[in-house]
């Protein structure tokens, strides 16, 4: 017995008293793993996870605000045994665009301005990852966070629709179209938000600049569209939509995803015009990525 006890005790003692340096000879998972780690850390950060309680408030609140209307609609639809949901899957994000705008304006700067302001960027680049890894991880994480924000209410609607025993094929198609649309929206908005935020280490400026860009462009486009509608120049309405992010998404989903246009008089782009919309959206996404790459190549160390 005594013989058995003593090695155990010695082991414990060495564990407690051994404060010497230990070398690490475990695995080093390299660049792709580091990129994934940065992605997941940034994605969690976009909802305040792993950050202070204070930084959780806004993103969580906005998430709830996004989902509550969907929950109410579903509750009403189930209770009244409605034949259809009161809103299309594709329309939902357009209705709640202000919430989405607020989200990207608050989270894009928190994702990139902080690293610039506190000069953490050079630390990242002193590790195996490179500019492209940083940009991709940041871009993908914000786009994912926005997809979660915009897709969650659609899931609520879809589940509700199935509970209300609405037509399965119909609902599934609408749901899929909605998901595609918000995926595109997430990529576009995340790109615009990041490009603007990465310009300045000042978070406040970033927030203001993103909000200004989204509201001014949308305000201008919808005003001019309304004027065009009054003067019956319906051709112009469709083209004008190219000049603000949310109307771009509206145009794409009207042309390709069976959505009802929110343009005045529901005059969305035709499929021909829709191709231009889609190209502009993809071009903007690629452009944002390119600008971010350029920005971070300069930041270096």
């Amino acid at each position: 017995m005594a013989v058995e006890q003593s090695p155990a005790r010695t082991g414990e003692q060495t564990r407690i008293h051994n404060i010497g340096y230990r070398n690490y000879d475990g695995p080093r998972l390299g660049r792709a793993y580091a990129r994934r780690s940065l992605y997941s850390q940034s994605l969690r950060g976009a909802y305040g996870l792993g950050r202070s309680v204070k930084s959780k408030v806004l993103p969580m609140l906005l998430f709830v605000v996004m989902c509550v209307p969907a929950a109410i609609m579903v509750a009403v639809a189930v209770a009244t045994k409605a034949k259809d949901l009161p809103v299309d899957y594709t329309q939902y994000a357009i209705f709640l665009q202000a919430v989405i705008g607020l989200y990207v304006a608050s989270q894009a700067p928190q994702s990139v301005s902080r690293d610039l302001r506190f000069k953490t960027v050079p630390l990242y680049f002193s590790r195996p990852i490179e500019t492209a890894d940083y940009v991709r991880a940041k871009y993908a994480s914000l786009a994912s966070a926005m997809f979660i924000l915009t897709a969650a209410p659609l899931v609520v609607l879809y589940v509700g629709a199935l509970l209300a025993k609405l037509d399965f094929a119909d609902q599934t198609k609408g749901f899929a179209q909605g998901l595609l649309s918000v995926a595109l929206l997430s990529l576009l908005f995340a790109g615009i938000g990041l490009v603007i935020s990465a310009v300045t280490p000042r978070r406040g400026f970033g927030i203001a600049a993103v909000i200004a860009t989204l509201t001014i462009s949308y305000g201008a486009v919808s005003t001019v569209q309304a004027i065009a509608f009054d003067q019956n120049s319906t051709d112009a309405i469709a083209w004008l939509g190219l000049f603000s992010p949310i109307t771009l998404i509206d145009g794409v989903q009207t042309a390709f995803l069976g959505a009802t246009s929110s343009f005045p008089g529901e005059v969305g782009p035709s499929s021909g015009e829709g191709v231009v919309y889609l190209l502009v959206v993809l071009g903007l996404i690629a452009g944002c990525y390119g600008l971010l790459m350029r920005r971070y190549r300069k930041v270096g160390l």
């Binding site: 404060i19 010497g20 340096y21 230990r22 070398n23 690490y24 475990g26 695995p27 080093r28 998972l29 390299g30 660049r31 793993y33 580091a34 780690s37 940065l38 850390q41 792993g50 950050r51 202070s52 930084s55 902080r114 690293d115 506190f118 000069k119 953490t120 050079p122 630390l123 990242y124 680049f125 002193s126 590790r127 195996p128 990852i129 490179e130 270096g300 160390l301």
Partner: protein
């Protein structure tokens, strides 16, 4: 074994030459990279990390070419920047765990090594509090921890004592020494304070204006000798007292330097003191000449003066250039 090797390494920016045909070999151990502000120390580190291409020449770190193997190098080395780099709103633990993962450590290993490393650099309970509330000394420790957490073979520490008070500085230097002796990690540490590193380093490389001034082992003199600075008055008999003392010292076979480039140059004599005898000798010589001894002090902290001799002329040139620039 060579840890860092550069060969005619140059880095030219549009308006300045930051590194000028620098060739230097650094072995294992603690190496000090000393030079005034703007000497090119940080530029050299960025090139060695494979982050900034050299204009000319080549460099290898741990046998890997910086031009082509930057990623491999960065996996094996650690880097502590000279500027602040810490987000104030996260705790040291969270931050270092994240940086460990960025170096490729799996989540569990990252947490374990973070706890170990923070303890080794001397951060205990405070490691769970947000970094924003830390003192400069504690922040420097966090910066050091993130550079060590992945157990690199070599760390680059860029001005780690910057902003620290004398006590904090001594603690940091002690820690740096331990990085090599206890952790077995080679260190390249920079300082703009000439001489601050002499007790910490096995080897000191002095650069100035991007050029190599001297690369030599510190053990030669730091263990047995210190530099003595003497200033004497002039008398009618000896209108240039400094010169008179120098001549007597030379006659006795003791070398002196004139400390050019330093405040009071020309009036100060620097010599290598071998022990108490040197002090007595100087005192006697000054007394014999009938001069007044204005000061006689130890200058352990001016390694550059020991090095300078042959490089005085070049140094002078640079000082002028700097003068014009400022």
């Amino acid at each position: 074994m060579t840890v860092i090797a550069t060969e005619s390494l140059s880095k030219r920016f549009p308006r300045v030459t930051a590194l000028d045909r620098l060739s230097v070999d650094v072995g294992p151990g603690v190496t000090g990279l000393v030079g005034a502000n703007g000497a090119g120390k940080s530029t050299l580190i960025k090139i060695l990390l494979g982050l900034s291409p050299a204009t000319e020449g080549r460099a290898e770190v741990l046998g890997l070419d910086v031009a082509t193997k930057g990623g491999d190098i960065r996996e094996r080395v650690g880097y502590m920047p000279e500027h602040d780099c810490l987000p104030p709103d996260v705790s040291a633990t969270e931050f270092v765990v994240h940086m460990a993962r960025m170096s490729g450590l799996p989540p569990a290993a990252a947490r374990e090594r973070t706890a170990d490393t923070l303890r080794h650099v001397g951060l205990y309970e405070e490691r769970y509090r947000p970094i924003g509330g830390y003192s400069t000394g504690m922040k420097q420790r966090v910066k050091l921890a993130q550079a060590l957490v992945h157990d690199p073979q070599l760390v680059f520490l860029d001005e780690p004592t910057n902003g620290l008070d004398p006590v904090g500085r001594d603690e940091m230097l002690g820690l740096i020494r331990r990085i090599h002796t206890d952790f077995g990690i080679s260190v390249l540490v920079t300082s703009h304070l000439l001489g601050e590193l002499e007790r910490t380093c096995d080897h000191v490389v002095v650069i100035d204006g991007g050029k190599l001034l001297r690369s030599s082992s510190t053990t030669d003199f730091t263990q047995t000798t210190t530099t003595l600075a003497i200033e004497v008055t002039d008398t009618d008999d000896h209108p240039d007292g400094t010169r008179a003392v120098r001549e007597v010292l030379h006659a006795r076979g003791i070398d002196t330097h004139d400390g050019s480039g330093l405040p009071g140059a020309g009036h100060i004599l620097l010599l290598t003191a071998d022990g108490e005898e040197t002090y007595d000798l100087v005192r006697d010589i000054v007394a014999d000449l009938g001069l007044g001894l204005v000061r006689m002090e130890q200058r352990r902290h001016h390694i550059s003066e020991v090095f300078k001799d042959a490089d005085d002329a070049r140094d002078e040139e640079r000082k002028e250039a700097v003068g014009h620039g400022g």
